[in-house]
């Protein structure tokens, strides 16, 4: 019988939630790395027992860990992330030039085929890669040195490369999303990149046709249809059907099109989930109701999923890396909140239960489906 493992990063440690395919009873292991902010934990698709974790601390900096036994034991791996060459400057909040400085690893994206190869998206925005299971990390500088780099400016969370999506039909094609620069695509495994933001509109930049400067919060792809990507932007939910060459808005009837997280059902490429948040100044769900919205039409038409979720006096946030799906049928959907709850649905989102209720604030949720 298949198993599901939910890897949860919180502000004060990591937790691993495990269940069989029924997804009714859950074992909770942790905290791992107690006291550390866990920006992301992710497992290798090629070897699900191989996990990587990024811990960050304002006091102690960046630490990286690897597990070869599904999180039973961990070993420290390399934590040096040095930009290639002299990194120069990007743009600061006030428009002035600001030196590029490594701060933390936001996102880990293991190779689809090699457990020792992992991409890391970092703040200040850049892409790193290890091919020796995390011992050493080398920058793929083509992204940071892309000609628009000096104009990239941070969002409220910093200038972070927070999302990496690898095209499963052509692993040389990778999408990277940076707040607040936008989406970039490489077709040559990270050597060269181009901004792919045509159609995005952002009211915080004066030129509505700007090539970069868009605060993209998250992008998601269904592996069977890699030309299609869905995006939750600062404001607006967007879709592309041509590998991000052009985007169109699909916010439709959402109660707010601000939000952070977005993901796609494992079995239905046109079934998409978002969790609307009130606004950029009110980082909590609208009207005190925690609602996941599902579109079964690839956008534009959305329905609220509320069964089992609090519909009164709820004021939590759900961050960009804190929504994920499993690979079972019906699809399991999972998300973590700023209030420390991790909710799961084993029926495509129709009904929900809290797997755990009282963790530290959740930063990231990643799901492994183990055959």
């Amino acid at each position: 019988m298949s198993k599901v493992r939910v890897l949860v990063g919180t502000r004060k440690g990591a937790f691993i939630l495990s269940s069989d395919a029924s997804r009714k009873r859950w074992d909770v292991a942790g905290p791992h790395f107690a006291g550390w902010e866990i920006f992301h934990i992710n497992g290798s698709p090629a070897d699900p027992d191989r996990l990587y974790a990024s811990q960050s601390s304002a006091w102690f900096g960046q630490v990286m860990h690897r597990s070869n036994d599904a999180g039973e034991t961990w070993e420290t791996v390399g934590n040096q992330f040095q930009y290639e060459g002299t990194p120069g400057t990007h743009t600061w909040y006030d428009g002035s030039p600001h030196p590029w400085e490594f701060k933390r690893v936001w996102h880990l994206e293991p190779s689809l085929t090699d457990p020792d190869t992992v991409y890391a998206g970092v703040e200040d925005a850049a892409l790193f890669k290890t091919t020796d299971a995390g011992q050493t990390w080398n920058e793929l500088p083509g992204l940071r040195t892309q000609k628009t780099g000096p104009s990239w400016a941070p969002g409220a969370g910093g200038l972070c490369l927070h999302t990496l999506v690898i095209d499963p039909t052509d692993p040389d094609r990778i999408y990277a999303a940076i707040s607040s620069a936008g989406v970039f695509r490489t077709d040559d495994e990270g050597k060269s990149w181009k901004p792919v933001n045509h159609g995005l509109r952002s009211n915080h930049i004066p030129d509505q046709d700007a090539e970069v400067g868009h605060c993209v919060h998250r992008i998601a792809m269904h592996p069977s249809r890699p030309n299609v990507l869905f995006m939750q932007k600062h404001w607006d939910v967007m879709r592309t059907d041509d590998r991000a060459e052009s985007w169109r808005e699909i916010s439709g009837n959402l109660p707010s099109d601000f939000g952070f997280a977005i993901d796609v059902n494992a079995n239905e490429p046109d079934t998409v989930y978002v969790i609307p948040i009130t606004s950029d100044s009110l980082h909590y769900v609208p009207e005190g109701k925690l609602r996941v919205y599902r579109s079964r039409t690839g956008g534009d038409e959305w329905e609220a999923l509320t069964k089992g979720l609090p519909q009164k006096d709820c004021y939590v946030n759900v961050l960009r890396d804190a929504l994920a799906t499993d690979q079972l049928d019906p699809c399991g959907i999972y998300f973590g909140t700023s209030g420390g709850q991790v909710y799961g649905s084993a029926d495509d989102g129709n009904s929900w239960e809290a797997i755990v209720r009282d963790l530290p604030a959740v930063l990231s949720v990643q799901v492994q489906t183990i055959p």
């Binding site: 790395f33 006291g35 550390w36 601390s57 304002a58 006091w59 102690f60 630490v63 420290t76 040096q80």
Partner: protein, 101 residues
Amino acid sequence: MIRVALPANLQALAGSGRMVELEVGGTVTQRSVLDALEARYPALRGTIRDAVTKKRRPLLRFFACEEDLSDIALDAPLPDEVASGAEPLLILGAIAGGLGG
């Protein structure tokens, strides 16, 4: 034998207790103590000082003998009491008002 007191997060990372004992050859300085500490516990590399510049991380402090030694030169001798092991070198995180939650 030099004694160094670690904050809780670094104890967890090193798999050590609060107080660790280290052999340090030659003059006992901030640099030589941290070199010995990182050699004994490689997991601590980059967490107390920058791995390349060796500069102390800004939210960490070094205290000993009721003095703040955070800003003394990397190669300045530490107090005799630290060098003899009579007093520990305390590494601690600044009180940062709940920074980072």
